[in-house]
Symmetry: C2
C-alpha cells in the first residue's frame, strides 16, 4: 500500500465525466471528519459498474459534500466469480473474514446456519459496511454481494447445479485443494466452510450426495473456520483466478493449464 | 474442529510412557482455572520433539498440577520448512498474523524493521504465547520459532543463500505466486512481506540484486500486509507443502510435479 494513495469512495450514482454527485450524510461525514479530506482535494470514486474516476471534493453548507468527476482512471473489467458460503462466527472473526474475503476478491458472501453454528444472528448492515471499507482500501472495482443468511438446507436447494461447490472438510477425507481445483477449474466455483464445531454427520451425508459437491482438504492441521475460508479463496485465486497474471508482468502460464 | 476434542498442552519436558510432569505455575492455572480441566481428565501433550501423548491431569496441593503420560498418539514427523519474515504491525493485526501463520504451518517467524514500518517495537513474549496457543488448538506438533526482530539489512545479510526468498511485491512487477513457486519448489523457501507503507525504492533495489530473491505478485488488489503474509503461506502449502496430501486420501499428484 502506498502511503500517498488517494482516498477511494464507493458511490451509488452513475459515473461519467462532469458528473457532480452529492454524498449521503454519513459518507460526507466520513470524508470530511474521519478521513479529513480538504475541499479541493482529489479522491477516486467507483460504483461497481462504471470503473474508477478521479474526482474533486467540494463542501456544500455545513454538513454537505459533493464530488465532481473528471477522468476515468480504470475501466470496469470482469472480476473473478468465486463465492464463499460460511457459517457465521463471533464478531471479531466474522468482521475479519468479510474484510479479508473482500481483499481476496470473493464475488459473493453467503452466510449459512448449520446445525453446529454458534452465532445466532448476523448483522448484515455491519458486514456490508466492512466489505465497502475493504473494497475502497484494496482498490477493488466492486463490493462483494452479501446475501441474507439462509439455513443449510436452503443453501443446498438454491445452489446452482452448474457451479462446483468445494466443501472444506476437516475430517481428513477431502481431496487436497490444489488437486480439487485442477479438476474443477473450468466451472464457476464456490466454497462452503462450516462452523468451529464442524458439520454434522447428516450434513456431510447430504453434501456427499450432491453431484456438484467436492469435499476438499487443507492439510493436517485443524484450521479455524475463518482461516480455512481465506485459505480456500487464496488457493482459488492463485490457481484459477486473477492472481495468475501480474499487472506489469506477462500472463504466466497457469500450473493448471493443460 | 470437533467440539469434543481434548485440550492440548505444550510441555518443555521430555515425553515418554510413565513420565509424570509438574506443570509450571502459569500453565497449571490455565489448565485448572481457565480450561477447567477436572482432576483425572485426559489431555494431549506435545513438546515439539517427541510426538503427541495422552496424559491424565492430577492436582498437587492448592495450585499445583501434574500430567501423567500414557500412550503416544502421534509420532513426531518432519514438518514443512517455510519461513515468514514480516514487518511488525499494530497489535490486533500482528496477533492475528502470528495465530494464522502458526495454523498455516510456518516453521519460523522473523520480524524485520523496514524503513516504512510503523510499529516501533514488538512484544516477543506475547507473540510466543499466541503461537503456543494456536499450535495447541490447531493440533500442530511444533510451535513456530519466533526470532528477535532485526533490521532489513541484517535480515538480508543473514539470510541463507540456499533458501529462496520470495518477496511479496505490491508494485505489480512480481511474478504470479503460483508460477514463482513452480520455479523454486525444490528449494527451502521463505517469504518477506513489507509494512503497510510498502518497501522503499532502495529496499526494492537491494532485494533485486540478490540471487536468492524473487519478487512475487498476489493479483491486482492491494492486500493488507497480514493478508499478503497469510496468502503466501497458503499458496506455498497448497502447491509445495503438506496440503498436497490428505490424511485419509491417497497422496495427490502435485500440480507442480514434472
Amino acid at each position: 500500500m502506498s502511503d500517498r494513495k488517494l482516498i477511494r469512495l464507493l458511490l451509488e450514482h452513475d459515473l461519467a465525466a462532469g458528473a457532480n454527485v452529492m454524498l449521503a450524510e454519513a459518507q460526507a461525514h466520513y470524508v470530511i471528519h474521519v478521513m479529513r479530506v480538504e475541499p479541493g482535494a482529489s479522491v477516486l470514486v467507483f460504483n461497481g459498474r462504471d470503473g474508477e474516476w478521479t474526482a474533486t471534493v467540494q463542501r456544500v453548507g455545513k454538513k454537505g459534500c459533493t464530488v465532481a468527476l473528471h477522468n476515468q482512471t480504470r475501466a470496469q473489467i470482469p472480476e473473478p466469480d468465486v463465492w464463499l458460503a460460511f457459517a457465521p462466527l463471533k464478531r471479531a472473526r466474522i468482521d475479519m473474514l468479510v474484510e479479508k474475503a473482500t481483499e481476496l476478491g470473493a464475488a459473493a458472501l453467503l452466510p449459512v446456519f448449520t446445525q453446529h453454528t454458534n452465532a445466532e444472528r448476523i448483522n448484515l448492515e455491519r458486514l456490508r459496511a466492512t466489505a465497502i471499507e475493504a473494497a475502497e482500501q484494496c482498490e477493488r472495482l466492486t463490493v462483494p454481494r452479501i446475501e441474507p443468511a439462509v439455513d443449510f438446507q436452503q443453501l443446498l436447494a438454491r445452489w446452482p447445479t452448474t457451479r462446483s461447490l468445494l466443501v472444506l472438510d476437516e475430517t481428513g477425507a477431502g481431496v487436497p485443494i490444489a488437486a480439487a481445483l485442477a479438476q474443477t477449474a473450468s466451472l464457476p466455483c464456490g466454497f462452503l466452510v462450516g462452523p468451529e464445531g464442524g458439520f454434522t454427520k447428516s450434513e456431510l451425508d447430504a453434501l456427499t450426495q450432491l453431484a456438484f459437491v467436492t469435499r476438499v482438504g487443507l492439510g493436517p492441521r485443524i484450521l479455524r473456520a475463518e482461516t480455512a475460508a481465506l485459505a480456500a479463496l487464496v488457493a482459488w485465486q492463485s490457481l484459477v483466478g486473477d492472481w495468475r497474471s501480474s499487472p506489469q508482468s506477462p500472463l504466466a502460464k497457469s500450473p493448471l493449464a493443460p
